[in-house]
Symmetry: C2
């Protein structure tokens, strides 16, 4: 399970990326109760709070009118766990196993047979074509309603292998606080993820407070048809849009039509979103979550097959973007489970 | 200027459409002041008000929770004038004239030469290819920022040929009231138009109170690049998405991820949006604006080259969708100009 899995899912269409701007930073105190109690005191928290204060105070030279307070968040590795493999890949694997009895022919497909044997090494050896095949048989060939139902069934039962929690419980408490803090200050919070948009929408509202119309992601083509007198949107086995790397600013412009003033990510796939955000005029906040906590979560960056953080880390250091050190900056990692 | 111009702009990719549900109707009085003063009393107004009352009263069996109150509006012919030609075509024609000095080679292009001579018959005789060419040279080959600036310049100066008003002043007062009435009752109002999304976004917030992120439309492909150290989104001469006919439910699912409970249109290009809306469970409102007022605006339907209303009118009559008779139902047509 290496290299190729970084390309898995939606990122099968290759991308090449390249680089601008800086954010300022002041030290202001928040008044009243702490809006980010799971964050340790330090530069990261200070920069976040200062940004919110100076962009939302009517008398501030950096004031941003409410309609322009757009904040975009990556999902995998920024809001929830992406190790040991993306949740959406785990979903695809489980889904192949679930559907296999209806598809005896899958045993003759090297990639799908590998999945059915639980042999992810063999899946990887089939390269991108195998992964694309895995994605298409699990993500297409049904209606949008059927797919959403399959996702909901999976997210309400599948558990992350290390933490034995539902995936939707493997979300970062400090980031939930950050989402809520921004919203309380008039920001509109979006998810802008390389993951499939319809894989996220069934649970983002409940999990993050982000409604489906504020979720941007990768997609397959859908087609409108009348079947037996009923209008249906069917998911076709063809990639429509890859919302990763340079696709993120494209997706942001396509769906939102405004440039964000704040952007949050954790990997090289988020670099262009942060660059696009940084290049706007006025106050800006660019932040990367750096996974440095092998004990409470995972520690990975420049050499990771999943969620590789290399170029974006170098850029962030060079330009003074906020780099959250998970181990140092977060008091708790996961949200408490009831 | 016939037939082909119906295909103009974004609808150059051919579409084939086909057909479900009904809406109920009660007679309720609105309390307090009239939310739709430009609407004459009658079935259309009664049905709209009854729908809003029964979907927003907490004790109503048809109550719709606020996050699900999605209302989608077509633009051309539903919110603003689309005759004698779509505003976006007028923009493209003006833009060709504006840019022609920098493009002497356009004189050798039959379609563009026809536009430069003001000979729209000749443009039409070049068929869809000529129209596509016109669209691509005026809508692509620049950054998203440059295109938005060109649109803003045009909308602040170009005038509709019959009414001699800015196009953004050729908007229907009764529909502005309807947008505001729905929003005041917790509905999220979207534009879902066959027109170019980036052609609408620069002015929809000011004109309709609909922010850019609630505008869905046709689009060209955009590409993220770093030019001289600055991140830029460039518009490529390639159609990305045609948001018309069966493309409208596709666009709605892609951008919103929820099915609307109310949908408003005026032509066959809106039929699938209304069908998709009607096919959801619970209370629904489907409405068509029928242009019946040659004196105050225009009268056209089944045989019109622009905004043809034929199949959708038949469906609406069959299923009891609201058909607004502009002449009978609207006290005033246009918003008052200051």
């Amino acid at each position: 399970m290496r290299l190729h899995l970084r390309l898995v899912l939606w990122v099968v269409i290759s991308v090449a990326w390249t680089s601008p701007a800086a954010n300022g930073q002041t030290s202001l105190q928040t008044n009243g109760s702490d809006p980010l109690p799971s964050w340790n005191e330090g530069a990261a928290k200070r920069t976040i709070v200062a940004f919110v204060v100076r962009t939302t105070s009517a008398t501030s030279p950096d004031f941003v009118p409410k309609p322009e307070r757009i904040a975009t968040f990556d999902n995998d590795g920024t809001l929830w766990v992406e190790q040991p493999v993306y949740a959406e890949l785990a979903f695809a694997i489980d889904r192949v196993k679930e559907l296999a009895p209806q598809h005896p022919e899958w045993k003759r497909d090297p990639a799908l047979a590998a999945v059915l044997r639980g042999d992810l090494q063999a899946l990887e050896s089939n390269g991108e074509r195998g992964l694309l095949r895995l994605m298409m048989v699990t993500h297409a060939g049904m209606s949008t309603t059927q797919f959403a139902a399959a996702v909901s069934r999976w997210t309400s039962s599948a558990r992350q292998p290390r933490f034995h929690r539902l995936y939707t419980d493997c979300v970062y408490e400090p980031m939930l606080e950050l989402l809520a803090y921004l919203r309380a200050n008039g920001f509109k919070t979006y998810i802008v993820s390389g993951g499939g948009v319809e894989f996220m929408r069934p649970w983002t509202e409940r999990t993050y407070g982000v409604p489906p119309e504020q979720v941007i992601g990768s997609s397959v083509k859908t087609v409108f048809r009348i079947l037996d007198g009923t209008p249906v949107l069917t998911r076709e086995p063809q990639v429509d849009f890859v919302d990763d790397g340079p696709g993120k600013p494209v997706g942001i412009e396509k769906f939102i039509g405004r440039r964000p003033v704040a952007a949050f990510g954790n990997s090289d796939g988020d670099l262009q979103m942060l660059e696009w955000t940084a290049a706007g005029s006025g106050a800006r906040l660019m932040l990367l979550v750096h996974h440095t906590d092998a004990q409470r979560e995972y520690a990975y960056d420049r050499d990771s097959a999943v969620g590789k953080l290399d170029k974006a880390l170098t850029e962030a250091q060079k330009r003074g973007w906020v780099v959250v050190d998970m181990k140092r900056d977060w008091k708790v990692v996961f949200k408490p489970v009831q």
